[in-house]
């Protein structure tokens, strides 16, 4: 599904160019430029408040940049509709909202219909298939607040699958889920990658970052590094970003020595 632009060069799935975003006087992101090729599994890491979620929201076109642009397959993100699917952070969802599991999954089909059109039987079929894929079919009629943390995460995965987007963004999908769910989510992500989709994940656990992702984006307001885990997870770079939390690097260094 890769696309060739007019000059004949392959365009990147996600291209961030000179991006600066601010809420108030302090920029949340400063001068970020990077290009993510299609079919990669990418992790965004960085300390709390380093702009990870803001970068993700920029890729969704939810925040307006002060400077720069985000392009999805060469098109400015504000003109791209539905090619990017999104799994929100668990804490960002109102779990008391009157909505069932099936309705959430069906939301993935909204981008295929005009805003006044109803969803079709085919849309519901696709939503059900997506729920089947994450093994949540038995919970279709449940209100989303009545599920366990891992199940809730899977419902939103199903929504993203139903959307059948080319790019999938996940905000801390592994926070507060058990090991089995973490594995299950990762399996789905790898399947998606093998289907040629581009997957970007905000991640907080440095210890597993190298194992899970092809590429890492190391962020603290500015871009400190973008590349394969081997290049990013070096003590010098991490030391610059995570000042003070030295224990982590000591362990990583040890791991590095063993490799």
């Amino acid at each position: 599904m890769s696309q060739i632009n007019q000059s004949g060069r392959k365009t990147s799935a996600i291209e961030v160019e000179d991006l600066t975003v601010s809420y108030g006087p302090v920029p949340a992101l400063l001068d970020i430029s990077l290009a993510i090729e299609e079919g990669k599994l990418v992790g965004i890491i960085g300390p709390n408040g380093s702009g990870k979620s803001t970068l993700m929201k920029s890729m969704l076109g939810f925040v307006k940049p002060d400077v720069g642009a985000v392009r999805i397959f060469g098109t400015d993100v504000s003109n791209v509709k539905g090619r990017v699917a999104y799994v929100p952070q668990r804490g960002a969802v109102d779990w008391d909202f009157p909505i069932t599991v099936r309705e959430v999954a069906a939301m993935g089909r909204y981008s295929y219909r005009r805003w006044w059109q109803d969803l079709t039987a085919k849309d519901y079929k696709l939503a059900d298939d997506a729920l089947e894929k994450v093994r949540m079919s038995d919970y279709r009629g449940r209100q989303i607040g009545q599920l366990s943390g891992g199940q809730q995460q899977r419902v939103f995965m199903a929504r993203a699958l139903a959307q059948d987007a080319d790019i999938l963004l996940l905000d801390e999908p592994f926070a507060g889920v058990d090991a089995a769910t973490e594995r299950a989510i990762l399996d789905v992500l790898e399947d998606l990658k093998n289907d040629g989709k581009t997957v970007v994940v905000v991640h907080h656990d440095l210890a597993t970052a190298a194992e899970y992702f092809d590429l890492l984006i190391l962020l603290k307001q500015r871009l400190f590094g973008f590349g394969p885990p081997k290049m990013i997870l070096n003590p010098k770079l991490l030391g610059d970003v995570y000042e003070g939390t030295l224990r982590v690097f000591a362990e990583l260094e040890k791991q590095g020595a063993e490799d």
């Binding site: 939810f62 699917a85 969802v93 909202f97 909505i99 069932t100 309705e103 805003w115």
Partner: protein
């Protein structure tokens, strides 16, 4: 017949307009209210209601000065709506560009705009031109509704309802997940302003019934009641509309019978309906919550029942005996027995209880936890006479990893301090496929599947079949017989270093 109708018309005809208006306005208020409740915008709706005063006066002045029209309702309606939108825009502006939080910004803006309205009205010059009955405005007066106003409100109602139906999905998605809404190209901010415009229109209509102070109740109270009753947005909207209409009719009738103010009585009725829902709602009501809590049977009691059935002499025991053994409320014990039967752990036959196969496994797991705790407590400073009762409390803590820890720390004991055997977790051994050799008891046959590093590695290969012999030296030494007949003696570390798959328990 005709005369009777005319008679009726003469006597009660004045009620027809108010009833139609009230029904329409209640429906539209409760429908929009659903989105307001879900987005946490109630206070904003209140602010819009108060800022209306300034808008109404502005609209009135505009129509009077420019077109010479006296108290032009449309003009006032548009003025009020614009004032509402202006309030929301200013709240948004202050929140975005200063460190002031939203609730404070709302508080400042609406009181400011309301004060501006009442200041203007109190000026002799303007007060002379603008004939607005401020009392009517504050408490509402649905009886005084004219046919012209009725038509206007009917139009407003149909516009707002059409908007909600047409924009149902954008409204739902922006309320639930604005980030996804933005990513699929829904203009989130525009939808928000659309909802604000609807709220302004609805507030302006509602003021006819309840006045500026109480109008918020028409919007949020039925919606909040419906929120307690259902789990789906479409149903919540319909339920809210029905509750709103019921609340209006009952309140209006009461007001007519008692000669009280209609607005107040409608709001009281809606509040009463809310409390009914709060207490009686099937899932989210207080009563349901209380019943749920009362009906849950603590795991503890269920385990005690299993334990007493297992300890009974011929594996069978009457319900009465169980009630005698366990010192807990009889009702809870009976419920536990029901629950265990439903879970397939217990057979109940003519008042006699028997463990099923699964029940036996479960009971053994429990006895295992209890006896491991006793063995552990025996090594601590807990007084001997307390050991049993302590272990009885602690056995309910049977988190798998905790039991494993105790078992390992104690060297996988085979008996407790009283000499009673500690059962092994048979189900787990057959299910997990790969377990520590140290867990197995005499008589088990198993195949070695993995050998972990250990200080004195055992002379054995992966794939060898072994059978378990006796434990010696108070259980500290495991005896293992290999297929060739060699007898190996392993200590705790060595036994733990071997992972095996059980071939066939004998």
């Amino acid at each position: 017949m005709y005369e009777a109708l005319t008679q009726f018309q003469l006597e009660y005809g004045y009620l027809i307009n108010p009833l139609i208006v009230g029904t329409l306005v209640s429906i539209v208020c409760s429908v929009v209210g659903c989105f307001i409740v879900l987005r946490g915008m109630s206070f904003l709706a209140d602010a819009i209601a108060h800022s209306m005063l300034a808008g109404v006066i502005a609209g009135y002045l505009f129509m009077k000065v420019i077109f010479g029209q006296e108290s032009h309702l449309g003009g006032m309606l548009i003025g009020a709506t614009l004032a509402g939108i202006l309030t929301v825009a200013m709240v948004g502006l202050v929140t975005r560009f200063s460190r002031i939080k939203q609730d404070t910004a709302i508080g400042i803006m609406y009181t400011g705009i309301f004060a501006m309205g009442s200041f203007l009205l109190s000026l002799d010059y303007i007060g002379g031109i603008v004939q607005i009955d401020i009392y009517h405005f504050i408490v509402g007066d649905v009886i005084a509704v004219t046919t012209g106003e009725l038509w206007l409100l009917a139009i407003v109602t149909s516009i707002v309802l059409s908007v909600v139906i047409l924009f149902y999905r954008p409204l739902q998605l922006t309320s639930f997940d604005p980030i996804m809404a933005a990513s699929i190209g829904i203009p989130v901010l525009a939808v928000e302003y659309l909802l604000t415009a609807c709220t302004s229109l609805v507030v302006v209509s509602g003021v006819q019934i309840a006045g500026v102070i109480l109008v918020v109740a028409l919007i949020i109270t039925p919606a909040a009641s419906a929120y307690l009753l259902t789990d789906r947005l479409d149903r919540m909207i319909v339920t809210s509309a029905i509750l709103g209409v019921i609340g209006f009719w009952i309140g209006f009738l009461i007001a007519n019978l008692t000669g009280s103010a209609a607005g107040a009585s409608v709001v009281i009725t809606m509040t009463a309906i809310f409390f009914l829902c709060l207490v009686l709602a099937p899932r989210y009501g207080l009563l349901a919550d209380w019943i749920r809590k009362r009906n849950t049977v603590p795991q503890e009691i269920m385990e005690d029942v299993l334990g007493s059935v297992m300890r009974s002499p011929d594996d069978s025991i009457t319900v009465e005996e169980v009630l005698g053994y366990i010192k807990k409320p009889n009702m809870k014990i009976r419920k536990s027995i029901d629950m265990l039967e439903r879970q397939g752990l217990l057979d109940v036959d003519h008042g006699k209880l028997k463990l099923t196969k699964d029940g036996l496994f479960e009971a053994k797991r429990l006895v295992r936890a209890h006896r491991l705790w006793e063995t552990y407590l025996d090594q601590t400073s807990v007084p001997k006479e307390e050991i049993h009762s302590r272990a009885h409390q602690l056995e309910h803590l049977q988190d798998q990893s905790m039991v494993d820890y105790l078992d390992d720390k104690l060297g996988h004991p085979i008996t407790d301090p009283h000499g009673s055997p500690i059962p092994i977790d048979e189900k787990r051994i057959s299910r997990d496929g790969k377990v520590l050799l140290s867990w197995l008891r005499e008589g088990y046959r198993a195949r070695i599947v993995e050998q972990r590093p250990c200080e004195n590695p055992v002379n054995i290969r992966v794939g060898d079949i072994v059978s378990m012999g006796e434990r010696s030296k108070d259980g500290a030494i495991w005896t293992v017989i290999t297929a060739s007949g060699t007898q190996l003696e392993l200590d705790h570390d060595q036994a733990d270093s071997l992972l095996v798959a059980v071939e066939q328990p004998e």
